[in-house]
Each structure stands twice: as C-alpha cells, then as structure tokens.
Subunit: 206 residues, 2 copies
Amino acid sequence: MAPTTPQLGLREAQDRFIAIWGQMAGAWGISRTMAEVHALLFISGDGLNTDEVMERLQISRGNASMSLRALLDWGIIERAHKRGDRKEYFRAEQDVWAMFRAIVRERLKREVDPLVASLYEIKDQTSARSGVGARGTDETERLALEQLDNRLDEMLSFFKTVEGMGTRFVSPTGRGLLAAASLLAKFTDSTDNARDRAAAAEERRR
Amino acid sequence: MAPTTPQLGLREAQDRFIAIWGQMAGAWGISRTMAEVHALLFISGDGLNTDEVMERLQISRGNASMSLRALLDWGIIERAHKRGDRKEYFRAEQDVWAMFRAIVRERLKREVDPLVASLYEIKDQTSARSGVGARGTDETERLALEQLDNRLDEMLSFFKTVEGMGTRFVSPTGRGLLAAASLLAKFTDSTDNARDRAAAAEERRR
DNA sequence: ACTATCTTTCAGAAACTTCTGAAAGAACGC
DNA sequence: GCGTTCTTTCAGAAGTTTCTGAAAGATAGT
C-alpha cells in the first residue's frame, strides 16, 4: 500500500523550497533564476561550483555565471575555494538576518538614494518659482507649483525617514532589525491587528 | 538672454515627478504605468477622470482603465464623483504615510502570507522523516533533511517576525511607522552608520 | 609558450509583460 | 425600451527581460 500522507524525499523537498524562493524573486527585485540559485546554495550548506548549479537547476552556463555574479554583487553569496580544485565554489550567507540586511542595504543604495536625489533636484528647480509674487508666473500656476512643492517635501521627509531606519537596520552593530521588532511589539500593541487588517481590506472594492 | 538656472514650469516639474515615480514602480511591485498614473493623481490634488489621465499620460483607454482598477485594488486611490457629471473621478491617498501603509499591507498579503504558508507545508512534509532513526531513509539523506528542516525553521521565524512588524506598522492605531522610526533612532544609534555603509560596500567585488 | 581547465561575455532566441484599440457591457435619462 | 455616455475586457501587437550557447578571455601547470 502506498503511503497516504505524501512524505517528500530530500530532492523533492529541496526542489519545492527552490521553487518557492524563486517565486519570491519579484519581491526582492531580482530575477527568478537568481533567486533559485540563491535558494540552492542556501540549502546546500557548503559550496557548489558552476557546473553543479547548472546541472541541478538545468540552466545554461551563461545564465549560471551571470546569476552567480549578480548574487555576489548583492553580497548575499561569497566565493569559496577548495584545496586542489581550480573550480570556484560559492556559498550563501547562512544567517537569514544577515542576508536580509544585505538585501536592505543594497535596495536602499539602488532605489531609495537615487530617488531622494531626484526629488531634491526637482525641488530646487521649482521652489524658487513657487514663492509669493514670483515674476512671470500667473496665480493659478503659482498655486499649483506651491502644492507640488509641498508634496515633494512630504515625500522627501518620508523617504529620509525610511532611509534612516534602513541604515540603522543594516548597521553592523548587529541584530538591529530583530531588536527593533521586539521593541516595536511593546510600543504599538494594544487592541488592533489581525481583525482590522481583514476589515480594512473589505472596505474598498466597489 | 536665456536664464542660466533652468527653472521648470508647472507641467515640466510634474512630468519629472511622474517619470521618477514611474522608475520606482519596480520597487513597489507594480507596473510603470500604474505608478505614473498614481503619481499624476497624487500631484493633481483633486480627482481626474479616465480621459484626463489618458490625455495627460498619452496612454490608451484600456491601459488607463486597467491601471486605475489595479490602483483601486491596492487601496491607494479611491473613486470620487462630481455632481452633475456621469464620469468617474479618481483621487490618490494624499497622506504619504497612509499610502505607504496601504502598500505594506497589500504586499504582506500578496507575498509574505503565501510564502509562510508554503514554508509550513514543506516543513510538514519533511520533518517527520528527519527524526533520528526514521525508517526507510539512509543516514546521509536524513542529515540533509534535518539541515533543510533547520533552515526552514529559521526562515519561518524570520518571516513571522517580519509579518508581525508589518502588521503593526499597518495597524490603524495610526502613525505606527513614524513612531517606530524615531523610537528606533534612540535605541540603535551609537557609533555606526554612513561611514560603515560605505566601507561594507567595498569589501566585496573581487 | 603551449595546453588544459575554468570563467565571462554577448548576439540572437525565447519567454514574459505591458499596451492598444475595437468591441462588448453597464448605467442612466428620457 | 432606446439612444447616449461612460467603463471594462481581451486578442493580438509592441516592448522588455531573461536565457542560451558558442566564442573569447583568464589562469595555471608544465
């Protein structure tokens, strides 16, 4: 008789994990294959080389090479060498928190920093004109510029706060995020949560 | 003589803002056009209708309709009606913090919740087998399964913490995120930051 | 300096996402 | 119930991202 509770063998379980992690790729802002390669290294404990990755995930050499390099750039895997073997091996950061910190650090750098810079730039080029009585601008336009200027300010202060938080999470002082989490729990808990989330989700949709 | 400091007119400034916000689309997990439509509504103060959006962003009716609907689903814009006008108008959430909360709420629901569910599922299907002396499994495989099991546990506890934090940020108790930010500043500041981020970024890359 | 082994690059192919516009569907007033 | 006005849908077109595989580039041993 076949078992009724479907127990998974090692390979099947690993494949499932890899697939799930691959689906999360979009959320981290990386490609599916990159995420799958990372998942594979993460659950493989010690290092794998390019051929092993290619073989296990059935991807081309080029793809494997590019994905591994990109993961190195993100700082969530590292090179490792084995004595008497010329191949390069790769090992994933094994601490989930450290891994997450690396991702946050990278996304701040790639996404938030340039955004803040651009916002400042627009602000510089508009705020002069939005002052009362600025010459060569009619009243309606001046008002709209002023409003845009205010919105820019709000966004800037928001993203600067986000960046400040992120930088602290990421700081090498250590388990910043974990500490923050439990800290937050104390201060913001009260009556709300699960119930409210569900209710709020309804309130819309026609 | 032409001005040497390039001051922007209202429309140019708005266009720049829209373009920047569009570039951030990937980071929020939405399409470029969706983000642009949102940006337009955000800086336009009161509601615009479908034709105004089409005209301003030069997009097709179908695209405008789909983007607006998707933004409604995310809960960051809302329908608005004008007396004596059969057209539907749309207005963006004007509070940046509220907007961000809506995004976090939605991403938790779409990305983190299903991930946690999947992780549990795999765990259920492997943990039984990873116990010492489980029948029908050789030692090497048992060990690897045990390791996978541990990794799954770490991930689960990580994502449950993330979800807990997110839920609190999102809670209607109010400006949870802002409060959290200043709170964090006090507890985690010390010697680190800007300097360290720069240093850490170097340490890799060959 | 040659050969063997391993890594990176990149042009074109394949896969996937987003957009368009015309047609179908709703909602309203008369 | 019929015409008008506005909204949604969806098949195919356009655009974008990701992947492949072969060729070029490194590195090391002899």
